[in-house]
Amino acid sequence: MSDQITFTIDGVSIKGKPGQTILQAADEAGIYIPRLCYHPELAPHGSCRVCTVLVNGKPQAACTQPISEGMTVENDTPELKEHRCNIIDMLFIEGNHFCMFCEKSGNCELQAVAYRLGILAPKFSYLFPKKDVDATHPDIFLDLNRCILCGRCVEASKNVDGKGAFEFVGRSIEKKIAVNAEANLKDTNLAVTDKAADVCPVGTINKKRTAFAVPIGKRLYDKKPIGSEIEERKK
């Protein structure tokens, strides 16, 4: 087997390594494919579907699809952008996102991807669901109003921290994150130093007493759009 795989993204020739996914190879090559649930240090979950690309004309999630020799990938097309915007809209309206007073604003990946794709307000009407907040833990609080079910916390707690503090319960639109206790986060062994406390892309898993340590305006995505850090890798 050759140790290099050549394929194209939007006509640009890319070289990747065997075993890499499209997203990993694109990231290395400095091409940004919008995504939300993916985290570079965790096994891909493939749930948000924002990174959907066309591989030889067939839709695939870039975060789970391995690269293969000669494949053609379409990423930055008006059609895919429209589908991605629809998905982002869905994520907003299925929760309750009040960005203007959310601790995560400016560091939130959902908000940042929405801005990058030019979304100012979702076009579908809000579902306004009733969701729980759990502030029982001394160092961490959970606000399920903002969860996008990306599975990062589940994966990190299970396979990085070895704790299994989080898991999904329910199905359909009722699916949600639950904690490994009869009721409350304080009864789990989650620690503020855990990976699981660090990976939430939105304002669901928050560390107490840190919310405004960095003021709004000086946060991660306040200066440069999300994905810039990837595009800067392009020589």
């Binding site: 749930s47 839709p59 998905i87 079910l149 329910g170 199905r171 639109i173 490994n180 206790a181 009869e182």
Partner: protein, 604 residues
């Protein structure tokens, strides 16, 4: 030790304290206690060595399992589209009246729960319900009265008095009022056949030759996706791994489909023979039949047939004297989740997990059940295998159409005179089928269940086969009076409930499609809504993670295409600049109550 502690421990022990047997464990606990309580979850987690929240994750996924207590008797009334057409609403009212409770409730004495459930595979004898494991068909309001009165005497649904169905439905192990409704026998599944001839022929040649026969017959999957069976087996056989599995998909959850029910009732031997041949071909020693929870009433019969086969050395060690060929079959019962019919979700469920589909690649043929190479096949597909090995590949290709050899079992229901199962050669015209079933005035026909297509009269010359109208078997007929937008909305309701919730487009998108349809049905639709429905549907199809979301917008998209006029006549431009769904009077109500006066601007 309390009773619950002792019982849960015992149940877990019977299942070898095996995490992978979670489905059997939680099903047994549910049956014993009418719930899987918080305490039970803790106990199960301890016994099998997993986290408590993992147990909750499984319990909360399946409709037949619950954390909250349910009655000793659970009445599940099927509210599928076909049952609605057959008058289930009146039946529902009767149950409410007789029990004095609403749906989703349990009687104050804690003994009887009343629920709705989606298609239970009895559309040809609707309205129908399942009471614990007992299926009751052809419900009427009088029957409801009798049933409730009867149940209140003993709270034991197995003691319910009813007539017995035909064939094996009358077997003492089934003892059910379900009837087969087999209207037409074809040459493959319901023809007379020489049992075990196929298996003997298979064992006389090499596994690779068996696969070649199936390939030459060009057998394609009967479960809906139509993947060539021989190629699937070839991949599974070739995949690295010591242990391999053959899984039979008996989840049959697509609304309007009930043909596998009849196979499981009357042709279980043919199915198990086919699984054994498949086991030989791919190199598997274990097969699992995944039986949907709704068909649990057939389980004892199926277990007996399996035991008979063991006794005759058709299962077990060195089958029929073939040295080194060992194979056996177990049954995994589901617990009410349509998505478990999707092959990777089915594998998850067999592994004792939530019925979430798995990420592909790897495909099941490479890494399936417990990470082993696995072939998943539909019930009907495996029966075809038995016949192909008995009669030869050329014989199989004699029936059917060019690209689609063989016959197809069609489950026909809805507005037709002769609902039931029809075994017809592939290539049959919709028009001819409608004549056979007594439905020439049909306004629309659903082919392939809600994940298939709703076609109108212009398409009745089309044929049922893989290259034209593909179907896993469901055919639902809609007469001239039906409101096709309402039908589409009801099917969307089904997908909303049954989405596993893993990926965004299917979890949220289906809810939105349903909302827009409801808006149109309420007379508040605007012309732009049709465009939104179309675009949204396309996004869901293109970006969803599994076959469910990739097809769930079909009721909307195919009616938009084939019944566009119905939609157009329902939407209108608004001229007052207000959002049509916004009810200003309702919005002002609270304020007016406080102010104790009515708005002078917004008077209507």
């Amino acid at each position: 030790m309390s009773e619950i502690q002792a019982e849960v421990k015992k149940i877990c022990q019977t299942c070898g304290n095996d995490r992978a047997k979670m489905m059997d464990i939680v099903r047994a606990v549910q049956q014993k206690f009418g719930q899987v309580s918080s305490e039970a979850m803790n106990l199960i987690a301890k016994c099998v060595g997993c986290h408590r929240v993992e147990v909750e994750s499984v319990v909360s996924f399946y409709a037949f399992l619950s954390k909250k207590p349910k009655g000793k008797v659970v009445i599940r009334l099927c509210n599928d589209v076909v049952d609605k057409m057959a008058g289930v609403d009146a039946i529902a009212e009767a149950f409410k009246k007789e029990l004095g409770i609403d749906f989703g409730r349990t009687t104050p004495d804690g003994k009887i729960s009343l629920e709705y459930t989606p298609c239970i595979g009895m559309c040809d004898q609707a309205p129908a319900a399942i009471i614990n494991d007992e299926v009751i068909t052809y419900l009427s309001t009088d029957k409801v009265k009798e049933i409730v009165a009867d149940i209140k005497k003993h709270y034991d649904p197995s003691k319910l008095k009813h007539r017995l169905g035909d064939g094996n439905n009358a077997d003492e192990l089934v003892h059910s009022c379900v009837h087969n409704g087999l209207r037409k026998k074809g040459q493959v599944i319901f023809a007379d056949y020489k049992s075990e001839a196929g298996l003997k022929n298979a064992l006389a040649v090499s596994p690779v030759e068996v696969i070649n026969v199936v390939k030459t017959a060009r057998l394609r999957g009967r479960g809906g996706a139509g993947f060539p069976t021989g190629i699937k087996w070839q991949f599974t056989r070739a995949a690295a791994g010591e242990k391999k599995y053959i899984l039979c998909n008996g989840d049959e959850g697509e609304p309007g489909t009930f043909k596998d029910r009849v196979i499981l009732t009357e042709r279980a031997d043919m199915l198990f023979e086919g699984m054994t041949i498949a086991g030989y071909a791919i190199g598997a020693e274990n097969g699992i039949l995944y039986l949907r929870g709704e068909y649990n009433y057939l389980r004892k019969l199926l277990e007996k047939i399996l035991q008979n086969r063991r006794d005759k050395n058709l299962l077990g060690k060195n089958i029929l004297g073939k040295q080194g060929f060992n194979f056996d079959i177990t049954i995994q019962v589901g617990a009410g989740a349509y998505i478990c019919g999707e092959e990777t979700a089915l594998i998850s469920s067999c592994e004792g997990l939530r019925g979430d589909p798995k990420t592909r690649p790897p495909f099941p043929a490479q890494k399936g059940y417990l990470e082993c190479p696995t072939a998943v096949n539909n019930v009907e597909t495996l029966c075809c295998v038995t016949r192909i090995l008995e009669m030869g590949a050329a014989w199989f290709a004699e029936s059917g159409s060019k690209g689609s050899p063989g016959t197809k079992l069609l489950s026909v229901s809805g507005d037709c005179k002769l609902p039931g199962v029809y075994e017809l050669p592939f290539g049959v015209k919709v028009k001819d089928l409608l004549k056979d079933v007594g439905a020439q005035d049909a306004q629309a026909v659903l082919i392939g269940g809600p994940s298939g297509q709703i076609i109108g009269q212009n398409d009745y010359n089309r044929t049922i086969c893989y290259d034209d109208l593909a179907t896993g078997g469901a055919v639902v007929v809609f007469g001239p009076e039906r409101n096709m937008i309402d039908i589409a909305a009801q099917y969307m309701e089904f997908f909303v409930e049954e989405s596993c919730g893993y990926c965004t487009p299917c979890r949220v998108g289906n809810v939105l499609l349903k909302k827009y349809l409801d808006k149109i049905l309420a007379g508040k639709g605007e012309p732009e809504d049709l465009d939104i429905l179309q675009k949204l549907g396309e996004s869901i199809k293109l970006t969803s993670r599994c076959g469910m979301g990739q097809t769930s917008p079909n009721p909307v998209l195919t009616t938009l295409k084939n019944f566009r006029k119905n939609y157009e006549s329902k939407v209108k431009k608004v001229s007052d600049g207000m959002q049509p769904t916004f009810d200003i009077r309702a919005a002002l109500a609270d304020g007016e109550a406080i102010a104790k006066r009515k708005s002078v601007i917004f008077t209507k």
